[in-house]
């Protein structure tokens, strides 16, 4: 299979020693196996996620992502931009669409970019890594690389919000996207078909500012995974992963639950199924250990 090359926007949380650095590790492993080349955008900046609005107005926020797109065009102008973080992908893609719709905003953005010596063409697709896997690689190819099918595992595919709305993955519905389930089945595990919290909100950034309210949402997400007999949750989003994993102890303390549900990235899942080591699959990044995956990886 030919090599696939993309301009890569890693985002703040995937940096070394940041909250989803483990995501990055497993993504690297997975990409190596699938011959996907990620060329980091030089000197990229934060996209301001969806929480920058208190400080930044519309234009400054758009300028942030515009700078990243412009830098990508400068360095790898012929490549689509790929992000692994849902918020990064969304903010960047939203910027692209807004600017393409509104020529006045586009002009203003370019004026601002000129201050950093940049100019925006805005003509390359902005994509999530999941789109690359589904559209450019395909389930069939993804399946071909499986060396250790994850047989016997039941997994709840938690898609969450921002990988799903407002753009989502082409051909999937907002209310019941199936791609994570399909991936789970591709690696030989069983998907929880009726996981009703599949696209529910985990609180996003409000997990920081409104912990009680957000944790109530998170509790439901995990509880439903248990109700569906899941051994673990898999997710494509660093915010989802972090929120559903790290607060389980606090939720247990508040609600008297006994949650200990591992939450992994799809890239971890694929890496393990592809026969990679626990370290390569970033299983050491799990706060709640994914014991079953470790066992398979160790075999």
């Amino acid at each position: 299979m030919a090599k696939h090359s993309y301009s890569f926007y890693p985002g703040c949380s995937s940096q070394k020693a940041a909250s989803s650095s483990n995501y990055q590790v497993s993504v690297d492993t997975m990409c190596q196996e699938l011959d996907i080349e990620l060329n980091e955008i030089p000197d990229w900046n934060c996209c301001s996620a969806s929480i920058g609005y208190a400080g930044g107005g519309e234009l400054p926020r758009l300028a942030l992502s515009a700078r990243n797109i412009a830098l990508s065009e400068q360095a790898h102008g012929d490549q689509d931009i790929v992000a692994t973080c849902a918020a990064c992908w969304l903010a960047t893609r939203e910027t692209q669409e807004r600017l393409n719709e509104d020529s006045e905003l586009m002009a203003e953005t370019n004026t601002a970019l000129a201050e950093a010596g940049l100019k925006l063409k805005n003509d390359k697709k902005i994509r999530h890594m999941v789109e690359v896997l589904i559209e450019d690689i395909g389930y069939e190819e993804l399946g071909k690389h499986v060396k250790k099918p994850l047989e016997g595992l039941k997994i709840a595919g938690y898609v969450g919000c921002q990988t799903n709305r407002p753009f989502g993955i082409a051909g999937e519905s907002f209310e019941n996207p199936k791609y994570l389930d399909k991936m789970i089945e591709t690696v030989g595990a069983e998907a929880c078909d009726n996981y009703e919290k599949k696209v529910s909100c985990c609180g996003g950034a409000l997990a920081f500012s409104e912990p009680e309210k957000s944790q109530a949402l998170i509790k439901d997400i995990i509880e439903s995974a248990y109700d569906n007999g899941a051994d673990m949750i898999v997710t494509p989003c660093p915010v989802c992963q972090m929120n559903t994993e790290v607060y389980q102890d606090q939720i247990n303390a508040t609600y008297g639950t006994k949650f200990k549900m591992p939450v992994v990235y799809y890239s971890t899942l694929l890496s393990v199924a592809y026969g990679k080591s626990a370290k390569e699959a970033a299983l050491d990044g799990q706060i709640i250990k994914a014991k079953q995956l470790e066992d398979i990886a160790g075999k």
Binding site: N45, S50, C201, A205
Partner: protein, 208 residues
């Protein structure tokens, strides 16, 4: 800031809908809401909102300026985009909520003690400094945003999480000293400054 508020009051003389249309991101859409309530029913923190989106839109049309701008409601938006995906009228509700928040902040009407409002500001300050978010500093400033005493309490409550993050190398104390950054911070900041100016000029234009 409060001058700015007065300026707007004088200018729109009770026509709040028009004020929103002119000054709030995607505010032009507010008039198109058909009051079906789907957004309110879809909003994850909906029950905690003083006025869920549908109500906010009606209040804007009913001219309830202060009630809307001073409310904590918009700050409860998690940006889940559920409302956008479901609104039969295609309103960019999420953006309007963000836009209202930004506008109320600009007017100096945003609730002072609203945690998300504070956090959002911290986040912005954090990212604009070096171009990238420093999660540790952001976290710490978040916990201490309500003062030292509260901060220590929150930090203690959060310490296990922090430790877990450290153990799994998903957080590093070294971040506190320096940490991640863009190289061209100068260009980055110049760009932001320009964007800010342009936006203010645009608002000024509509404000004249």
């Amino acid at each position: 800031m409060s001058n700015y508020n007065q300026e707007m009051i004088d200018k729109y003389r009770g026509n709040f809908l028009k004020e929103v249309q002119d000054n709030v991101e995607e505010g032009d859409w507010v008039k198109m809401c058909m009051q079906c309530g789907v957004c309110s029913g879809s909003c994850p923190l909906g029950p905690h909102w003083d006025h869920p989106p549908q109500e906010i839109f009606m209040m804007i049309r009913a001219g309830k300026r202060e009630e809307v701008l001073e409310s904590t409601s918009m700050w409860m938006c998690t940006s889940c985009y559920n409302c956008i995906a479901r609104c039969p009228r295609g309103l960019p509700i999420t953006h309007i909520m963000h836009g209202l928040a930004t506008y109320s902040k600009r007017l100096g009407l945003a609730p002072q003690q609203q945690p998300t409002a504070k956090f959002a500001q911290l986040f912005w300050d954090n990212l604009t400094k070096k171009g990238r978010v420093n999660e540790l500093k952001l976290g710490l400033s978040l916990y201490f945003m309500n003062g030292i005493g509260e901060g220590i309490k929150t930090s203690l409550k959060m310490k296990d999480i922090g430790l877990n993050m450290l153990k799994t190398k998903r957080m590093s104390p070294m971040e506190y000293f320096g940490g991640h950054s863009c190289k061209d911070t100068k260009g980055f900041q110049a760009m932001l400054k320009k964007a800010q100016e342009l936006e203010e000029a645009r608002i000024g234009k509509s404000g004249s």
